[in-house]
Structure formats: structure tokens, C-alpha cells
Amino acid sequence: MSSPTNIGNVTPSRAHFSEALALKSGGVLPAYDLVYETYGSLNAAKTNAILVCHALSGSHHVAGTYGDDPKSRGWWDNLVGPGKPLDTDKFFVIGVNNLGGCYGSTGPMSINPATGKPWGSQFPFVTVEDWVDSQARLADLLGIDSFAAVLGGSLGGMQALAWTLRHPERVRHGMVIAAAPKLSAENIAFNEVARQAILTDPEFFGGDYYEHGVVPVRGLRLARMIGHITYLSDDAMNDKFGRRLRHGEHRYHFDVEFEIESYLRYQGDKFATFFDANTYLLTTKALDYFDPALAYDGNLNAALAAARARFFIASFSTDWRFSPARSRELMFSLLHNGRHVTYAELDSSAGHDSFLLDDAHYHAALRAYFANIEV
């Protein structure tokens, strides 16, 4: 095995789909674009493709850099590359920006051909299943009949699961990391607070802020701050910030006193400069609506009966947003259905964010699993 190296510079591609996509919400997208990146080479038999699905704030830019800028490194670059656990010498890896996104695929910022204006509030609700269907069309375009694996963390894991149910013959391995078969009430509650922050921002303008030349920065910033709290663990926050003071003493004002405040403000500010508020709203709704068991009277065993893939499930001990108990629920349901399943419940102090980090045990488990996937 060669020692791991980085992918280097990458360039996104764009695919246009002129056939309308009927959405689960009843809406229709008359045509759409998907922006995607690929790493490694598709083999002649087209059997070595792996789809990486992104989470709430992710994108098609999974690995590599743009124009040699180290700050532009992809969000799962520690996993994907030559000699890395998801080895691009073996696999052809694809990252896609989801529909409704703000990184180039058709979304609320795109021009609605019917009006000549940005979609804004008129962009239809998209679901995890809609994303899967749109990704399947991209697979058709690339000549990929079946994926060696579809994987993702968090909302990306939900897409991987949905793939194994909607297109069971097209996924050989479903890799569902730090995810859940549906959100809990508490989880939906956090999403709702984030949405309310955006919806009540005076510069939201019902979702049509583009034409007013403004962005609901305050709402977006708050939404991101709330999100960040839930992605970390109490331990991680105490380790990283504790009660550390910015000025070494209490100054009795509303500017930054504690370092954690500074961190949240920084993350919120940064996010609000590049992420689209409508995308944030739609994506959190997609999270809330995801529930494959709903059509089976809440019976997850029945819902998963369609799956044919082998599964890799992973969770992290301090992840309270997508707790290990939720992953175990999924594991037991897959066992009920006689599926091949591997389940890793990894010790980690980093909370939900753990799935993006390169903990040695986590990556060793992934490396071993990928090594056994036949192409």
C-alpha cells in the first residue's frame, strides 16, 4: 500500500437534466443541474464507483483543493484520496451537490425559468428520496449501473440508507454513519429553532430576499450557532473552551466574555457569508421529513425489507444529536431482515462532528471495510 497522499486540485463538473423530476412533496422541477466532482477513475466494467452524500452544510467538494489553496480542501479530504481509507487508486468516488443546494446545483438561488427571477420562496420542497432519485439520474449519465458503495454521515447517511431502499439493486454496500432512521422530536426541535431564526429575520422577505439585495444574515448566523452547539459534546466544549475568558476578567458587557461565545460568533458569521438561508431551511426540512418507516405504519423492519445491500453502520459515543441508540435501532432492523451488517460504536469525545474527523480507530474500521469491497 502506498502512503496516503492528497488528491490535489480538482474541478467540478455540471450535468444538465432536461427531463422533469417529480418530487415527493408533489412539486415538479421542470429541469435541473447537478454539480459534482469525481476522484479516481471509473474502471472499464464500471463497478468501482462510490457515491459520497453530503450533510446539511456540505457540498460536492468532498476532497482535493481548488487552485492550490489549502483552505479550499474538501470536507472529507482526510478520508478520500490515493492510499487513504477510501482509496481513489481503487475506487471512483463521486460527490454531488444536492438539489436545493447553494453550491451550484439547482436551488433557491437559481433562476426559475418560468419567471426569470431566482426561485427563492417558490423553490419546491425536496426530500432525501428526491435527492436519491436525482443522483440516480447522474449515475445513469455516467453509465454506472450499481455503486460499490453509497456512503454518508448524518443527513448523508440518511441518503445512503434511502439509496438501499429506493434502488436496492444499484447499491452493493450502504454505509450509514452518525445517522438515524428518522429524527427524534428533540432533533426536530433544534431544526425548528434554527428555522425560526431565519424565518423571523426582517431581511428574509418570505424567502425572496435576493430581489431586495439583502441576506438574512442574523437568522442564518443564529441557526448556525445553534447547530454548532449540537454538533459538539459537552466534553469537547469543555476541553476546547471551558470557561476561558477573552480578557482574563469579567467585564460585565455583552461583547465576548467567554471564548465559547467568540467561537460561536465566528462560526455563525463565517457561515452567514457563504451559505444560503433558503437552502438551510429546505435542508433541515428534508432532515425532519425523512422517515422510511412512515409508509409502513412506523414499522422500520417492514420498511427495510426492500434493502439488498450489505451495511456498514457507525456511531460515536458522545454524539447526542444522532446518538448510538439510533444507529443501533437501524442495525437491529437490518438484522431482523437478515442483511449483512457491521456496526462500529466508536469512542470519541467530539460529538456529532466525530464523523468528519480522522480518529485512528474510526479510519481503521473504514479502511478495513473498503478494502473488502470487491470491484
Binding site: M331, Y343, A364, N372
Partner: protein
């Protein structure tokens, strides 16, 4: 507790004899997955291993096995009644605190259970105690201060527990190293293997 690279063949051969082709098998404390691999090759079982230790779990993944990282001290909650034909625990029973609970759970989740364990009644261990020291041997390779074992029992003790818990002993094979022991195994066998059912 099975060492990381275990190839305890005599144990495997007996267990393999008791498994029929194509069964569903759950191996508790499956270590690096050597037994499960053996059963898949010899019996084409649909096999799952439970292993709490991450390095051993990774070794199982490396063998292409289905491995579930679960702490056995929490029992087998979540598994369904009669979900497996056999639930196996090879050389791990002595490392679990909740002995009664896990035996009950094995026979809830499996139609039959298979357990093997080092026999603390083995004559060499008795000699060692007589000489004033806790036994250290091939079947008990640890010092008293670093052993992962938490329950110390003989074949006679185990059979008494089975009797009390309504567990039927369907078959029993005992060994001294790789030699089968049929006479007075509680004294002459270092390892015992049982096939268990509900009485």
C-alpha cells in the same frame, strides 16, 4: 478472553460439528473472528460476531465478517427471541460479569447455545493453588493482576448453575490441550465445551 490471533482448532472442530449448513449464528466475544470465519468456510453460516474491543472489531472487518460493536455486559437487548440457530460464546464466559443473565439471553436469542470456557478445576490449576499461587497456563494465560477474567469456575460449578437455571446440557466435550478427556473431566480437562438448550 481469546487472544487476538486465536487458532484454537480443537474448540472450533467441536463447535463446527454442532452447526448445520446455512444456519444463522451469533458469536459473542468473537475476538478477531477466527471461529466465525471457520464456520462460514465449513458451514456457510449467516454469521454475526459481537466484539466490544475496537482493534478486534477492525480485525473482523478485515476478514470481511459481520461484526457488531456491543458491550455484552448490557446483555442482548434489541435482539429478537429465537433470531439465531446457535448463539456461541467461545472462551469468553469467564470474562463476563453477568453470567446468569448472558446465559439466559443466549437461550432467548438462540434456539441453542454453545459455550466453551477454561476449567478452573483442571488438576494443574489445583496443584498451582496448592503451591500457593493462582494458576497460569495455556488456557489461563494471564497473571491474577492483569487477567480480563472476572468469573472463576469449574465444570462442576457450571453444570450446577445450568441445573438451577433450567438449562439443559445437550452435549459436552472436554479437552486437555487437544486431547479429548472423557474420564473425570472436571479434574483432567483444561477446557470444556457445552451445547445447551432449554430444559
Amino acid at each position: 478472553m481469546v487472544p487476538l490471533t486465536s487458532e484454537v482448532r480443537f474448540d472450533f472442530d467441536v463447535i463446527t460439528r454442532w452447526i448445520t449448513r446455512g444456519e444463522r449464528v451469533l458469536d459473542l466475544g468473537c475476538g478477531d473472528g477466527a471461529l466465525l470465519s471457520h464456520l462460514i468456510n465449513a458451514r456457510e453460516v449467516l454469521g454475526y460476531g459481537i466484539e466490544h474491543d475496537t482493534e478486534r472489531m477492525v480485525a473482523c472487518i478485515g476478514r470481511g465478517l459481520n461484526v457488531l460493536q456491543i458491550d455484552l455486559e448490557q446483555g442482548l437487548a434489541g435482539f429478537e427471541d429465537g433470531q439465531f440457530d446457535h448463539v456461541i460464546m467461545s472462551l469468553s464466559l469467564q470474562a463476563v460479569h453477568n453470567t446468569e443473565g448472558i446465559l439466559d439471553e443466549m437461550l432467548r436469542v438462540g434456539h441453542e447455545a454453545v459455550v466453551s470456557f477454561p476449567n478452573f478445576g483442571y488438576w494443574r490449576h489445583r496443584v498451582s493453588i496448592n503451591e500457593g499461587h493462582m494458576p497460569v497456563s495455556d488456557s489461563l494465560p494471564y497473571q491474577w493482576y492483569n487477567t480480563p477474567n472476572v468469573r472463576f469456575f469449574t465444570m462442576a460449578d457450571f453444570e450446577q448453575l445450568c441445573e438451577q437455571r433450567g438449562i439443559r446440557i445437550l452435549e459436552r466435550v472436554a479437552f486437555d490441550e487437544d486431547r479429548e478427556i472423557t474420564i473425570d473431566p472436571n479434574n483432567y480437562a483444561s477446557v470444556a465445551i457445552y451445547r445447551l438448550g432449554r430444559a
